[in-house]
Structure formats: structure tokens, C-alpha cells
């Protein structure tokens, strides 16, 4: 974690953080959200699986672009890409959003899909979205609603790899923000500066999820959960998978697969600093295929 004593960073126009580049889903949500792209589905369309894919902290809808590209023009299922609240916008908007704002965007699309008549919903969360979805389950969000048929989590974060994160409330005001080490390709899709307020929100939600798991909670009755977790991950500690395994109390509804990878959110390969190997591509494809298999079997 790189830090600075300046309160606000100097933001280049090339960065997502600036006032020129935004997540494209803000300009044309109908191309990203199924509820807006096809708000009046036929009975057949409404019964197709809809993957509601949600990105991680400081990322944007781009994180799931490769799944969309891989899916091509399939008519077997839909992919609805959610932009988390406070994300994909300016640095100031990112700074002022809480984790509940991040989460609300998931709820908005979930409820809009139900309202439109879609009934075969599958929640997919990477990294922090994994924590946001777990929080929603633990706090009873799905009680009384049509529940997701499957919940698929890729590198969910419950235990941070950076073990100093719990101190962000104390150290944050001193450092102001941290700077990510993004590649040239990543700078328009990921925030390059992370205000300490956002890191404090991240710590707040993962701490809540950890405590909820510690007490234990069950999945919605008809839901199945699968967790795909990299064995070496510099952002979401692999022990996160252990806590989920121990904390979800319903039997036979959770499957964990440990993925032999050193990438955080190993399903996104584009614009990585590390060279991408054939094995990385294979793991990505296997996971996409597995997600489809689970959705089609339920």
C-alpha cells in the first residue's frame, strides 16, 4: 500500500479518477444492465439464467468484460453488468460513497430484474462484491424475495492480504489516500487513487462479514454457492475461503474450489502486469464453463 501525506492527489485526465473518463455503463446503461436493455422479456426470456456480475473495490464494469466477450452472442443466458455505487465516477464521488452505496447498485439491478419478471437469477461477485453479497445474505436481504439460484464468488475478500488495513481508521487521516500500481491499460478502468475513506469503508464491510460468518448464517433455501479462490492472492487472503466455508451453516449448499493462481480475480486477464500463461487462460475458461454449468443445472 503506497501512501501520501497530501489530502488530495493530482489527477490526470487519463485516469478513471478524473472528470473526463467514466464507466461507459453510466452513459448507456441499456448495454450493461439487462433490466434496462430488455425491460419487457417474453416468458421464455424471463426464464433464462441472468448472471448479475459485480466487480471489486475500485474497479469498474470492465472487470467482467472478458466473461461477456467469452459468452459472445449466446441466447442461452444474459449477463447483466452492475457498476457499484460510487465507482466509475470522479475521485470525489468515490470518496464520498459508503459500502452501502456500493451495495445498493447490486440491489437495484436485482430488484429491477425481479420487477421485470426475470426469475432465474445468478449473482456473481468478485473480490469486494463477494463481501457485499455475503453481507446481504447474512443480514437477511433475500428474506421474502425470489432468491438467487446460485451465488458465485471469485476471490471474495473477507480477510485482507494487507494486514495493516484494520488500522486505516487511525492511519488514514495521516496518509489521505493510497496510490494503486495500475498498468497503463488499467488506469482508465480502475481508480488509481484510493481515498482513505473508501479503504475505511472496505475495512468496515469485510469486518462485518467476518463477524457475521463467525456467528454463522445460512444461505437462502434454494440457493447454491460456489467460491473460486486463488491460493496466492495479494489482495484477498486465501483464508477468506476458509471463513466462508466455516461460516455458512447450511449443509450441502456450498462448494469451495481452490484455484492454483497468483492473480487476484483470476477471471480477469487483460492488462495484467504479470505475463499471462496458458494455465491462467485455462483456469479462466474452466471457471466460466463451470459457472455456466451451475446456472444451467439449476
Amino acid at each position: 500500500m503506497l501512501g501520501s501525506c497530501d489530502v488530495n492527489p493530482e489527477i490526470s485526465d487519463d485516469f478513471l479518477d478524473g472528470k473526463i473518463i467514466f464507466d461507459p455503463s453510466l452513459l448507456s446503461p441499456e448495454n450493461y444492465l439487462v433490466s434496462q436493455g430488455n425491460p419487457n422479456p417474453t416468458a421464455e426470456q424471463a426464464s433464462r439464467p441472468v448472471f448479475i456480475v459485480c466487480h471489486g473495490f475500485s474497479a469498474s464494469t470492465f472487470e467482467w468484460q472478458e466473461f461477456v466477450d467469452w459468452s459472445g452472442n449466446t441466447e442461452d443466458y444474459y449477463v447483466s453488468r452492475v457498476l457499484l455505487g460510487g465507482h466509475g465516477r470522479t475521485y470525489e464521488e468515490f470518496k464520498s460513497a459508503s459500502w452501502k452505496d456500493w451495495q445498493q447498485a447490486i440491489f437495484d439491478e436485482y430488484e429491477a430484474l425481479l420487477e421485470a419478471g426475470y426469475s432465474n437469477l445468478h449473482l456473481v461477485g468478485s473480490s469486494t462484491s463477494g463481501a457485499l453479497i455475503l453481507e446481504a445474505i447474512g443480514s437477511g436481504y433475500f428474506n421474502g424475495k425470489t432468491t438467487p439460484n446460485s451465488i458465485l464468488l471469485v476471490d471474495p475478500i473477507v480477510v485482507p492480504s494487507d494486514k495493516m488495513l484494520p488500522l486505516i481508521g487511525v492511519l488514514g487521516p495521516l496518509i489521505g489516500y493510497t496510490e494503486a500500481e495500475n498498468t497503463q491499460g488499467e488506469i482508465t478502468y480502475w481508480y488509481n487513487y484510493r481515498p482513505y475513506e473508501t479503504l475505511r469503508e472496505l475495512q468496515s464491510v469485510i469486518k462485518k462479514v467476518r463477524k457475521d460468518l463467525q456467528h454463522g448464517f445460512g444461505l437462502p433455501l434454494r440457493s447454491f454457492m460456489k467460491v473460486y479462490k486463488s491460493t496466492h492472492d495479494a489482495s484477498a487472503d486465501p483464508a477468506s475461503a476458509v471463513l466462508i466455508y466455516k461460516g455458512i451453516t447450511t449443509v450441502n449448499q456450498v462448494e469451495i474450489e481452490m484455484i492454483d493462481s497468483k492473480l487476484h480475480v483470476f477471471t480477469r486477464l487483460q492488462f495484467r502486469e504479470e505475463p499471462i500463461s496458458d494455465k491462467d487462460r485455462q483456469l479462466q475458461q474452466q471457471t466460466f464453463e463451470d459457472m455456466i454449468r451451475i446456472a444451467m443445472s439449476r
Binding site: 456467528h215 496466492h232 476458509v242
Partner: protein
Amino acid sequence: MLRSQKWIILGTVLVFMNLPSVSLAQQSHIDIGLRSQKSLGLYLENGFVSQISFDRLADNRLFLGIGFVSSRLGSALGSNAIKQDNYQIWLSYYFKNRRKIRPFVSLNSGYFAADYEAEIFDVLDRSSMLLSASSGLEWTTPVQLKVNMALGYNIISGNGLNGPGTLYPLFAQLNFFYPLK
């Protein structure tokens, strides 16, 4: 636990148990007590501790201690927290010997092991050598009970790439020592 690590711990315990007889010419002091340890950002772990010092060794300022603390007696008690054990040894040096409140510094080592309870997690690091430094204050109460608080830093901790993920760097300790001898 590796075989060599088991021998190191066993050897340390045996040496500790034999210290009073080895140093017959010296007056030794043995404390026993309880330790409560909180990783900053994670679990509360509780357990048992003991330490020994000698009049003629650094004027009773140097203590050699052993302890066992576990989340089984803390956060994991009746919850889904990960069960993890710390086998600890340490060397502490106390300043201002005749004061009721004495500052001290410690160099700590030992062995850490977490129980992930499922084969699927066998690919993850679950154990580690412990190496930490800590410092704090000890208050000797009128009834001889010593209350001791410290802050410490684990030099070896998990970082997502290596090491157990629930071994955190910063910790606080509250110890209660009572003199046996």
C-alpha cells in the same frame, strides 16, 4: 508441525523445567499466569503462561517465559472462528526494578498452527514460526499479582502470498502473573 520444530519446542520446555535445579546456587523466581492476546483486526486468543528469573542473572531483570495461547479459548469458543494455537517462548528484560510499575521489552518466538478443518485447504499455509518483538508495562499490585500489558509486532505474518492468513502483525497482550516461588 515439522519434526524438527517439535523437538525445538520440547527441548525448550525441558530446559525451562530444569532451570531451577541447574541453578541451585541461585535464587530463582517463577511466575505462572494467564495471557489474553488480541491481534489488531482479528482474533482474541487466551491461554497460560509461565516465566522464570534469577537474582544473580541480570539482577532479576531477565525473564525466560513459555506460554500457550489459542483462539480455542477465545474467539473460536462457541463460534466459527478459525481454531489456531500459539506455542510461545520469550525473553523479557525489565527496567526500573524496584518500582511498582516497570517497563519491559521482549523478544518472542515459537510456533503457530491453524486448523482449517477441511482437506480442500491443505494447499494453504497453515503454520509458521513465530518471531516478534513487544514492549509494555508491568504493575505489581499490593497482593503480589503482576498485571502486565504489552504491544507487539509479529515480524513473520501472513500476506496472502505466503504464511497463514490469520497470523496478523500487530497484537496487544494482557498478562496476569502470580509468583509461585
